[in-house]
Every structure is written in structure tokens, then in C-alpha cells.
Amino acid sequence: MSEMPARLAATPRVRHFVSRVLMVIGLALVVVFFGLPLLWLVTAPFDSVPTLAVSWPEWTLSSFAAIGENRYAVGSFVNSAIIGVGTCAVVLVLGAFASYALSRVRIPGRDGLLYALLLLSSIVTGTAAMVPTFQLVNLLGLIDTHLAVVLVISGGTLPTVIFILKDFMDSIPKSYEESARLYGARPWQILRDVVVPISRPGLAFVAVWTLVQVWGNFLVPYLLIRRTEQQPAAVLMYTFYTESGQADLRLLSAFALIFSIPIIVMYFLVNRRYGFRFHGGIKS
């Protein structure tokens, strides 16, 4: 115990080699850990008789054909897209303005307000707030609309979004805006030409994060939307069960794959185009 490190330290090359080996082993473990559960997702949909175990499939596309025959499956992806894009748009626009304003305006208790909202959002995204949320949407007459889902999810996610974006806004030097203003730029021009370009990686991250939240959300759309053909994929996925609650693995696996691909693709597109970056985090 006491000898080993000493000897290792004595020869930097050995130490370097050992740390390399350790790192490779560690990375291999990471690959296995994250990859193993995903294997099922890429094999089962192509298997003619999928089981819960990962196995080399007997190749077929019949599961996908079954999805095509389902009355609601294709439409549900469109609905998911509408809700997803809508929520991203609302959250990005409002979040950008609000975080910019919060970053520039000095209101006493500003940070406290933000933290309070962040905490409150945990109540609203929980199941206990479901009745008030439903009644509110009902009062507004928005039941059975995608708009309702967009607004409810936006309300719940905005505090986190503002929290993340504010870091970016804080990092933009005021001098940029001041010089822009000197040249007669209007506030929205400053926002468009100075603030948005600088905070683009943050906006990109927030867009993906929001989409992840919306894409998998079951309870909100399920309760607020009435017509089956308006339901998003997250709700439809739960219908692939038999009377006794047993999963129809053919439909489920194929649907799960189609359901996951857009969001993975979206992530990589956004990442390649804008990249993700975070700023200094909380400055207390």
C-alpha cells in the first residue's frame, strides 16, 4: 500500500501509463453503462417476436407497419411536434426577454423572486396541482387545445429557463449595448443584434431542455386534451397495453424508437449548429 504509490510516483512514465489504462477502463465502463440499456431500443423494433431480452433480431419491419396501421400513431407525432415547437417558441421568446430584463433591471429582491419561482415550479409540475391547473384551463375555455398544454408546460418550465438564461445575459458586457445605443439602435434591435447572438448557445440548450420536458410529458396533455386524434405521442404510447396491462412489445418497441429519434436528431442538429455553453453559474 505504501510502497506502490511511491514506486509509481518515482517513474512518471509508469504512472502516466497506469493512468491511461485506468482512464480507458473507466471510459469503457461508461460506454457499457450508458449503452447497454439502449441496445434493446435498437434491436427489439426489428425483431419479428421481440422479447424483453436483447437478442440478435430476426429482421423484419412488420412492427413499423403495425404502427402505420394504427389509427392515431402518425397523427400523434404531429401533435407532439406542434406542442413541442409551440412550447419551445413561447419559452425561448419569453425566457429571453425576461432573463434579459432581470439581468439589466435592478429590482430589490430580484434573485429572491427568481428562486421563489423556481421552487414554486416544483409544486406545479407535481401531481397535486393537477386539479387547480385543470380548473384554470377550463375557466379559460382552453380544454382540448394544444395551446393549453403549451401554456401550462411553459408556465412550469419558465423559471428554470430564466434561471439558466440569466447567466448568459449577465455575461454580456453592458458596453456592447451602450455603443449600439449610441449608434441609435432601438431596444429590440439591441436584443436581436447583440443579445441573441451572444446568448445563442444558451438559447439552444434551453430549447433542447424544454423539448425534452415536453416530449415525454404524459399527464398534462392527457388531462387537458379530449379528442384522441389530438393527443401527443407520449399519451399514445401508454395505449399499447392489453386489458391486463401487458405491453404489446411489437408496437411499443417500434413506437419507442420512432418517438425517440426526432429528439435525438434535434439535439445533434442544435449542438452542431450552435454548440452548448454555460456561463459562470450562480454569482451570489
Binding site: 394504427n70 392527457y222 379530449r226
Partner: protein
């Protein structure tokens, strides 16, 4: 100051926008009132290509076109919409409760019979004749449904809905395994001891779980309905009687004692009871000949192990030869509820009218149509099941001796669960009691803990004293 005012204006502005959008939203789509065109809606936890697909397809492909055509012939312009759902029962219940609470929802709603009491107490649903008018009382269908079947959708002696089926519970057993263990193929146990003896004989077989009696919370209501309640009924005890809940009774201790024997002697598989998909796995194991005796509903026979193409989740090609079924015996002859020798539990779902319906009488017409002999004959054309109507049963069940057996011998001995709002929580407490016993707690302690939990749920004043 300035910012505050700006916030205020903006808030007002966005609220106005929202309500404008809302106004637009609610303006379209209703389309009724003028020209006599009427839209009715049906909702059920059934969806084509998913959960309860047969029911969904029947509504979409038969009920709606037939009803619309019949109405058109009578000169009425009626459109029927079907809102399909296919989710967990709890989520479905939450959604329709929210709908009904806010004065919305479909005109005809499919619900589980066990929800009738709590929905009625909340004022979400009303007695059928109050909603649908005089036509309800004079409907021909009531004469075809026995009292017991009707009671599944009744509360405080009033009909709140029309049942859409009837079911009962039996003991299934594997005749091949029985033969291997030297047990009779035509098995008719008359007491718990005889069941246990058979199970002990089966335990000599390799890789066979002698008996599956549902326990624990993971199986949810299946533990109560296909487990503790039929066992409890065999002791003559009920969970709720004469307006009071029963806690730590001798009957409950005996019932839990049966669990203790089965799982203590390893006649059952305790881990299976805790698996999230435990019930499905029990089906699959029974179908694979790995379980000797199984307490289940007739649904197991007609759906789960149905050998026909794409019906069952665990089809058994040789079902009719291998699977035997027999009545669930009471603890000892005559010890069951109302002095019965054999017991069963009845559940069942049905459909109610929405009291908020804009066209309640027409909605009743549709509901009656869905429950006509013709409609049921069409409904069970693909897979036979027990309908609530005696006239239809007499025709369609003839082809299936098992369902005839249930209809004739099991339905009359059915007991029913109390349809009260607290029942779901009580049910969980009962499941927890079985879980504790499977885990090694003594039946006495588990029963005492149940009573404590029961008091917490319904209040001390509602628990029968000194039971």
C-alpha cells in the same frame, strides 16, 4: 412605478388575449343548436389498436354507423363522436372525474362499477331515470338483467348506469399437473383444506408453483378481487356490512392465515407477488404449465389463454383439454357469506349518462341501443364473453361450456365490493395486509395493523366496534 404599471398592463393584455383565444376556441366545434344537427359523444377506456381494442372497434364500426343510420331514417341529423382512451385506469378515472366536476365530458361515459358510489356521492353522476327521463324505467333491457348484475352499476338501490358485462371468479387448475401429482382430473374441493392438500401434492413436482393466490400491493386491485376478498367471503366475513367497516375480525385473521399457510409452506412464489408485472407473469407461468392452481376471473379463460389468433396474451392451444375450473370453496362447507358452500366476487364495468348532457334523452336512446340484444350479439361475435343480458347469453354462451358454467353457477354466488369513495384506499390497506403476511408477519399482527390503517382512512366512528 413605471415597471409595475407596465407589468400590470401586460398581464391584462395577455389575459385578454388568452380569453379571446379561448372564445375563438369554444366557438367552433360545437356546431349544434341550429338546423337540428346534434352531436353526441361517447368515451371509454378503450382504443383501437390498443387497450380494449375489441370494444373500441365495436363502438366505432358498428354502434356509431348503425345508430346514426337509424336516426337518419327517423329524420334526425345525429352525429356520434367517440373519444378513445387507452391508459391506466387511475389516470382515466382522474380525467373523467375532472371532466364531470367541471360540467363537461362526453354524453355517455364508460366507468368501472366500483366508481359508481364515489361518483354519485360527488354529484358527478345521477340516477339514470333522472337524467334520461321516463324511457329509462320502461326499457326492455332491465328484464333481461338479473338483480345481481344490475347492482354492479347501482348505488343505494338506484341504477346509475347500464352494466356492460358480468364476471365471476373460479379456481383454475392444470389437469396435466394434477395427473402427474396423482390428483383427480375432475377436481371439486369443498374446503380450504382440500385446496391446500392438492397444493401439497403438487409441490412434489419439479419447477411447479403449486398455487398462485394474488398478494401484495404490486398487483393492486387484482390482489383484492382475485385474492383476499374471495378468501374472506369464504369465512362469512365482509369488509363492509350494515353501514360499518369491519376491521380486525376472526374472518380476516383466518383469511390471512390461509396466505400464511400458502406462502409459509412455500406452496406459492412470494417474489412473484411483488413484481410490477406479477399478474402477467402468473398468466404466462400458468400457460406454460408452471402453476398448478390459480384463482382468476372468467376473463382469464376467454381472453388471456384464449387459443384463437391474437386474442390472448398467453394463448394455450390446448386450453380446453388441459385447463380445469372449479368453484372457489368456502373455508368449510356452509361457512361462506350468507351460509354459502362456495363463493365468488363480481366486478364489472358499465356506462353512465352524463348529467350535464345537452341531449340527455337522445343520449339514453344511444345507451339503450348499445345495450340492445342486437348490439351485444354483435359485440361478442368475435370473442365470446358473458353479457349482462340473459337472452343474449342463452344464445351466445352455448358454444363455451366454461362461460356457461360461470353464468349459471358462479354469478348467483357473487359478492360485490362496497362502492364507496374510501374503498380504493381500504383496498390498498387490505393488499398491504397480505403483503405483510407473505413477508412473514403473523396473521394476527397483520389484521391488527389493518384495523389501525382502516381507522386512519374512514375514521374510528365508521369501524364496527369489537369485531
Amino acid at each position: 412605478m413605471v415597471t409595475r404599471r407596465r407589468i400590470l398592463t401586460a398581464t391584462l393584455a395577455s389575459v385578454t388575449t388568452l380569453s379571446l383565444v379561448a372564445a375563438c376556441g369554444s366557438g367552433e366545434g360545437e356546431g349544434e343548436g341550429d338546423g337540428g344537427a346534434v352531436t353526441l359523444t361517447i368515451t371509454a377506456n378503450a382504443i383501437s389498436g390498443g387497450k380494449n381494442a375489441a370494444e373500441a372497434d365495436w363502438i366505432r364500426d358498428w354502434v356509431i354507423p348503425e345508430f346514426e343510420a337509424a336516426q337518419a331514417e327517423a329524420g334526425n341529423d345525429v352525429t356520434v363522436e367517440f373519444l378513445e382512451e387507452g391508459v391506466d385506469d387511475e389516470d382515466y378515472k382522474t380525467k373523467i372525474a375532472l371532466d364531470l366536476q367541471s360540467g363537461e365530458g362526453a354524453d355517455i361515459i364508460g366507468i368501472d362499477g366500483i366508481w359508481v358510489g364515489e361518483f354519485a356521492e360527488a354529484g358527478y353522476i345521477a340516477p339514470l331515470s333522472e337524467v334520461g327521463g321516463d324511457a329509462v324505467e320502461s326499457w326492455e333491457g332491465w328484464d333481461q338483467m338479473s338483480e345481481a348484475v344490475q347492482s354492479a352499476m347501482s348505488f343505494e338501490d338506484q341504477r346509475y348506469g347500464v352494466p356492460q358485462g358480468a364476471d365471476g371468479r373460479v379456481l383454475y387448475y392444470n389437469k396435466e399437473l394434477f395427473a402427474q401429482a396423482g390428483l383427480p382430473e375432475d377436481w371439486q374441493p369443498t374446503s380450504w383444506d382440500e385446496v391446500l392438500e392438492a397444493a401439497r401434492s403438487l409441490s412434489s413436482l419439479d419447477g411447479v408453483v403449486p398455487i398462485q393466490l394474488n398478494a401484495g400491493t404490486a398487483m393492486g386491485e387484482a390482489t383484492t378481487m382475485q385474492g383476499l376478498l374471495p378468501v374472506l367471503a369464504g369465512t362469512g366475513q365482509e369488509v363492509y356490512s350494515e353501514g360499518m367497516w369491519n376491521g380486525d375480525t376472526q374472518g380476516l385473521r383466518d383469511a390471512l392465515g390461509l396466505y400464511a399457510t400458502i406462502y409459509g409452506e412455500e406452496l406459492g412464489d412470494p417474489i412473484l407477488q411483488q413484481e410490477a408485472a406479477g399478474r402477467d407473469n402468473s398468466f404466462a407461468q400458468f400457460a406454460a404449465g408452471e402453476i398448478g392452481i390459480l384463482l382468476e376471473g372468467d376473463y382469464f379463460w376467454r381472453s388471456v389463454i384464449n387459443p384463437d389468433e391474437s386474442i390472448g396474451t398467453a394463448p394455450m392451444a390446448n386450453r380446453d383439454e388441459v385447463v380445469g375450473y372449479t368453484l372457489i370453496p368456502a373455508q368449510s362447507p356452509g361457512s361462506g357469506v350468507e351460509g354459502r358452500d362456495f363463493v365468488s366476487m363480481g366486478g364489472g364495468t358499465g356506462r353512465v349518462l352524463n348529467p350535464n348532457s345537452e341531449h340527455p334523452e337522445l343520449a339514453w336512446e344511444l345507451l339503450a341501443f348499445m345495450n340492445s340484444a342486437e348490439a351485444y350479439t354483435e359485440r361478442v361475435a368475435g370473442t365470446v364473453s358473458i353479457t349482462p343480458r340473459d337472452d343474449v347469453n342463452a344464445e351466445v354462451l352455448a358454444s363455451d361450456p366454461m362461460l356457461t358454467f360461470v353464468s349459471e353457477n358462479v354469478l348467483p354466488i357473487n359478492s360485490y365490493r362496497p362502492g364507496l369513495a374510501e374503498y380504493p384506499q381500504v383496498s390498498v390497506a387490505l393488499q398491504e395486509a397480505t403483503a405483510a403476511v407473505v413477508d412473514g408477519t403473523s396473521p394476527e399482527d397483520a389484521a391488527a395493523a389493518y384495523e389501525e390503517a382502516l381507522i386512519g382512512i374512514v375514521g374510528e366512528e365508521n369501524v364496527a366496534a369489537g369485531s
